[in-house]
């Protein structure tokens, strides 16, 4: 992916840039909002990673608002030191697609970058998700594996749906908390792990190949092999 990083803190920028490049992405960097806006408006990127507070008169929110006003729909991930609920809401309202509070683990950032950048193109609604022999029907809301029906709770269905929509990508615990439960606080316990392992038991029972994999220090991934 071609990613534009707009971040004024040189060290954080270097760390993010290096990490993203190691993960195989091409990264352009701007150190202030004005340069960032210029680059974002004049070149084609798959994703923008923006600091919320930027020097140079154009902060992250202004930058996104300007881009969106010009019809630029490039996905935007906010990085911010502002954690207040209102700030997150403001960032998303301005046109951001995700919001990550500093300090963050790089794995968290990478997972969110990949989730945002590899969103399915086109507006055709997906009605059926498939990973190996696991099938999830979004219309009848049923789960089958190898043709065998698996009973899941509504919340487990949403959890599985989120994992399958991002099949082959790492999904972090915080992402699951935010996207599946819509919780924006730290539950202080490993509840997510408990929910995932329950789901995993249901899916893998009677099958040799596990589908949901734990990615150390990052999160979970559903994949065929």
């Amino acid at each position: 992916m071609r990613i534009l990083l707009v971040e004024d803190d040189a060290e954080v920028a270097r760390f993010v840039r290096k990490g993203l490049q190691e993960a195989g992405h091409v990264v352009e960097h701007a150190a202030n909002g004005r340069d960032g806006l210029f680059l974002a408006a004049s070149e084609q990127f798959d994703l923008l990673v923006l600091d919320r507070m930027l020097p140079g008169g154009v902060d992250g929110v202004r930058l996104v608002e300007t881009l969106r006003a010009q019809g630029n729909r490039t996905p935007v991930l906010f990085l911010s030191a502002l954690s207040a609920v209102d700030e997150r809401v403001r960032g998303l309202k301005a046109g951001g697609d995700d919001y990550l509070v500093k300090p963050f683990a790089f794995a968290e950032l990478l997972a969110r970058v990949e989730a945002l950048g590899r969103r399915p193109a086109g507006d055709a609604p997906v009605t059926r998700l498939r990973v190996a022999d696991l099938e999830l029907d979004l219309l009848s809301r049923t789960v089958t594996r190898g043709g065998k029906r698996i009973e899941v709770q509504p919340r487990e269905f949403r959890l599985l749906e989120h994992l399958m929509r991002h099949a082959g990508q790492v999904v972090t615990r915080t992402m699951l908390l935010e996207k599946v439960w819509d919780y924006h606080f730290d539950p202080q316990t490993n509840v997510i792990d408990v929910h995932v392992s329950r789901l995993r038991q249901k899916l893998d029972k009677g099958f040799d190949k596990p589908l949901i994999h734990t990615v150390r220090n990052a999160g979970y991934m559903i994949r065929a092999d």
Partner: protein, 530 residues
């Protein structure tokens, strides 16, 4: 986050946790603090705590204060009218009476003089002369001989009421010159047992006095009406002038700091009150903005270095195996770095919790309040934490009604109940049961004067909190000695308390099973709407 763990928590009375910090052990500071020393206690409700749109408390207060002022005004008015009438009466009717008396006394003296000079015949002659020139027939005379005979005068007979020698003055109805009339009479004794009666017909004066009295009564009646009307006007004016100040105060209490008291420009006391309030609000606004600026700055200036440090550690983690000489060294280095990262994450979590608490306590989030139903939120949370309870060998039971509507902050309410559930699971024994329940309250008055409409209860079978520690349990970083070695920052209950206060409610901590051992903890989060 941690309640204390004393094994011997006697089943004590429930203790409401005071507002954080150095609050006194009981009661809500907000309830008492803002009342000035010189002001009389407002009758009934607390002005500052009233719900923003409802004007009940202030109107109630106004009614009493305005009514008192109006009453005072009417009373003063009535007293001055009474004094005026008295002076008028004394100066008119009274003066007429005094004048009559003086004339009678002078006439009697003159006749007595005549008696001394010319004897009885001389006096009789003088009386006849006087009667002859009295065109209006107002004068009354009676000169009586010791045997009761009339020597001179126009009165038919000596009035029996004045037979007694001691009777000197009298107001009587008498017949003179063939007509009955009201008269003022003065009797004196003359030498040799004679007596002289001098009088004046006062029928006209009495009529005049009646007219005067009637006039005064009418005037007083109208004056009283004016007084009542004036009192009503005064009360209304007072209410009208105070309402902007009240509206503003109510809006501020509701979290809208932009409101200001509208001034009339008259520069009177009410304007001065409004201007003082506005100055105070400006200052509060600046302070709030300052606090917000400071916490934003802290957020930025503290998070950025932590982010850098974390980034460096993560970098080092990737490089460590190559840089280390042996596999053993590499492992040790890696472990040390991972611990460093975990510590930084712990710092971030505490910091995040503090910011959240500050956010809730500032009340700024009241602007983000929205109507919601607690039941689906709680059911979701129960499902979420049910997994954690199960993993800890416990059960999470719920008792939720069909609906508990409330206007509040979804995210903060969720986090508050999540903290309570997390605590309950953390401190409950394996095999124990955690109970989450909710109910709508019938609007009983809360600590901040607002009507409580919802209650969320989390009960566990853990060691509970000793009654002595309950009041302090909501303080930041408070951890009872018994819970020092359990994980947690000591901020969980502080957040719950801050959320309770944000919703103008309270957090009540009590024994879940009074008398049992361990007593368990029942935390009741009681909330007002909006």
């Amino acid at each position: 986050m941690d309640p204390s763990l004393p094994a011997v928590a006697p089943s004590g009375a429930a203790a409401a946790v005071p507002r954080g910090g150095m609050a006194p052990p009981a009661g809500d500071r907000r309830e008492r603090a803002p009342r000035g020393p010189g002001l009389p206690p407002p009758s009934g409700e607390d002005l500052a705590a009233g719900p923003p749109p409802a004007e009940g408390p202030l109107l109630h207060l106004l009614r009493s204060a305005g009514f008192r002022f109006a009453l005072l005004f009417a009373a003063l008015f009535a007293v001055s009218i009474l004094a005026f009438a008295l002076v008028l009466w004394w100066g008119t009717a009274g003066a007429l009476d005094r004048q009559t008396n003086a004339v009678l006394r002078a006439d009697a003296l003159a006749l007595e003089e005549r008696w001394r000079e010319a004897g009885a015949s001389g006096a009789a002659e003088a009386i006849e002369e006087r009667l002859a020139v009295d065109a209006e027939a107002e004068s009354i005379y009676f000169l009586r001989a010791p045997d009761g005979r009339r020597l001179a005068g126009n009165l038919d007979r000596w009035p029996p009421e004045m037979e007694d020698a001691s009777a000197v003055w009298a107001d009587l109805s008498v017949t003179h010159d063939g007509q009955r009339s009201e008269a003022r009479l003065h009797a004196i004794r003359l030498p040799g047992g004679h007596r002289l009666l001098v009088g004046r017909d006062v029928s006209d004066k009495i009529r005049l006095r009646q007219l005067l009295a009637e006039g005064l009564i009418w005037a007083a009646g109208f004056a009283l009406l004016f007084a009542l009307f004036g009192a009503w006007l005064l009360r209304r004016a007072l209410e009208t002038r105070l309402r902007p100040a009240f509206r503003t105060a109510a809006a501020i209490a509701g979290g809208d700091l932009r409101q200001r008291v509208r001034l009339t420009g008259l520069g009177d006391e009410f304007d001065r009150l409004g201007a003082t309030m506005n100055a105070m609000l400006d200052r509060i606004d600046r302070l709030m903005a300052g606090v917000k600026g400071v916490s934003d700055a802290i957020a930025h200036d503290l998070r950025t270095p932590i982010a850098r440090a974390r980034a460096k550690l993560e970098d080092a983690l990737r490089a460590a195996p190559d840089g280390a000489a042996t596999a053993e060294e590499a492992r040790a280095l890696r472990a040390a770095i991972e611990e460093g990262i975990a510590d930084l994450d712990a710092v971030t979590r505490v910091f995040q919790a503090l910011l959240r608490i500050a956010e809730a306590e500032a009340g700024a989030r009241r602007a983000a309040f929205a109507p919601l139903d607690l039941v689906p939120l709680l059911a979701d949370l129960a499902e979420f934490y049910g997994a954690a309870a199960e993993a800890a060998g416990q059960r999470l039971e719920t008792d939720l009604p069909a609906s508990v509507p409330l206007t509040g902050d979804r995210d903060l309410l969720l986090q508050a109940v999540a903290n309570l559930l997390d605590n309950a699971v953390k401190f409950g024994p394996p095999g124990g049961t955690v109970r989450l329940s909710a109910r709508a309250l019938p609007g009983e008055p809360g600590p901040a004067g607002a009507a409580l409409v919802a209650e969320v209860t989390v009960a566990d079978e853990g060691p509970g909190i000793a009654p002595a520690d309950r009041a302090r349990a909501g303080e930041r970083f408070f951890r009872a000695d018994a819970s020092r070695n359990t994980p947690g920052s000591g901020l969980g209950l502080s957040l719950v308390l801050a959320v309770a206060h944000l919703h103008r409610g309270e957090l009540v901590l009590e024994d879940a099973r009074p008398g049992a051992r361990p007593p368990g903890l029942r935390a009741r989060l009681r909330l007002a709407s909006g």
